[in-house]
Symmetry: C2
Subunit: 208 residues, 2 copies
C-alpha cells in the first residue's frame, strides 16, 4: 500500500490549481543481503594519553572501556552493486563522550586512542547462520585513520591543518581565499570533510 504524506496541504494547493512532489511510504517485505558497518576499537581496556611538549604519551593504563557500539551505515542492508555505485560516506557517524548517550552515537573516552574499523557483513539467508558467523564478514583497517579523542585540540598544528583543509573552517583562514598555508590546492577541490558530521579530534557531548 502507498500513503500520501501531507495530504491536507496537497489538497489545499490542488484547490487553487497546482501541485508538487510528495513523500510516500511504500510497503513490501523481503530479506536483507549485505550490510556495511563501521565500528570503533574493540571493547578492550585501553591506555590513557596526555599531550605534553608537542607529543602524545601514555599517561595511565587500563582505564575501564566505554560501551562497544557499532555504527550501521544508513544505506545498509544493500547489495554489492548498490555500494559500488558511489563513494560510501560515513558522514552520519557521530562521536560522544556521554556514557548515557541515547542517540546511537559511538561512545568514546577523551584522551584515549582509537582505530576505526570497517566491516562488510554478509547477511546469511541460512537458518543456522549463527554457526557461520565467523566467516560471514570481512574487515578493513587503515592505520592512518587512528586518532586520539579529545574535547579540545591539544596540538595547535592539528588545528591549523584542520582550518586549512576543511571548507567549513574557511572563516578562520588568514591568507588569500585562493591560497592555503599547508595543504596543496587540489585536495580541496574534492569534497573532503564537507560531508562529515565529525569534528576529527573533538568529541561532542549529547545535547540533552
Amino acid at each position: 500500500t502507498v500513503q500520501l504524506e501531507m495530504k491536507a496541504l496537497w489538497e489545499e494547493f490542488n484547490q487553487l490549481g497546482t501541485e508538487m512532489i510528495s513523500w510516500l511510504r511504500v510497503g513490501a517485505t523481503d530479506e536483507v543481503p549485505w550490510a556495511a558497518v563501521r565500528a570503533p576499537s574493540p571493547p578492550h581496556s585501553v591506555p590513557r594519553y596526555a599531550f605534553h611538549s608537542s607529543a602524545w604519551l601514555v599517561a595511565g593504563k587500563a582505564d575501564p572501556t566505554t560501551p562497544g557500539r557499532v555504527h550501521f551505515h544508513p544505506d545498509s542492508p544493500a547489495k554489492g552493486a548498490q555500494w559500488m555505485r558511489q563513494i560510501v560516506s560515513f558522514d552520519k557517524l557521530k562521536l560522544t563522550n556521554n556514557l548515557l548517550d541515547d542517540n546511537g552515537h559511538i561512545i568514546l573516552s577523551s584522551m584515549h586512542r582509537y582505530q576505526p574499523r570497517l566491516h562488510v557483513v554478509f547477511v546469511d539467508p541460512r537458518k543456522d547462520s549463527e554457526r557461520y558467523a565467523q566467516e560471514n564478514f570481512k574487515s578493513f583497517i587503515f592505520t592512518e585513520t587512528q586518532f586520539t579523542a579529545v574535547t579540545a585540540y591539544q596540538n595547535h598544528r592539528i588545528t591549523q591543518l584542520k582550518i586549512a583543509s576543511n571548507p567549513f573552517a574557511k572563516g578562520f583562514r588568514e591568507s588569500d581565499p585562493d591560497s592555503w598555508p599547508i595543504s596543496p590546492r587540489p585536495l580541496l577541490s574534492v569534497p573532503t570533510w564537507s560531508r562529515s558530521s565529525l569534528r576529527p579530534c573533538v568529541l561532542k557531548g549529547s545535547t540533552e
Copy 2:
C-alpha cells in the same frame, strides 16, 4: 576490495598524530530486488494552458511532447523492508524545460498540465523477465498532485500559499513569525517542502 579516499590528507593528519572518518568505495556483486520509480505524465501529446482572469483554460491542443523521462529514486534498487523503514522522499527529482537537459532532470513544457505517477517495480530474477513485464509493477496516482508547469507563478494565491507553507520562503512572510495566514500551524511542524528541490509551480532551466 576497499580503497581509502583522501589518502594523502589522511596521512598528512596522521603524521601530526590524529585522524577522523573516511570515505570508502566498497565492492561486491549481486542482484537487484525492488526499485521505486517516479515518472511524469505519459509521453502523449497534451494541450497547452493559459491563465486568464483567475482561471486556467485550454489555450491550444496537441503540442508536441517532451522526452518521456523517468526518475529513479536514488535508494533503488532496494528491498521492501528498506523502503518501509522511513518516508520515501523524492526531493532529488528536478524539473526543467530545457529539451537538451543533460542532468537527467524530468523535461516538461511550461504552461502544460501534468499528473505525477509512482511506479513500484519488481526486479524479476527470471531470465525471460521481459515476458512478464506487464505484471511486474504497481502504479499509484494521486490526482491532487496534478500541476501546471510554469516559469513564474500565474496565480497570486499560489504564491501566497507557498510562502505560507514552505519554510524556505519564511523570509517573505509578513505577519508574526509565530502565526501563518493560511495553513494551520501543525502542518509546518512536519518537514513539508524543506527537503524538496522543486519549486512547485516553477520550472528551472539548466544552469549550463
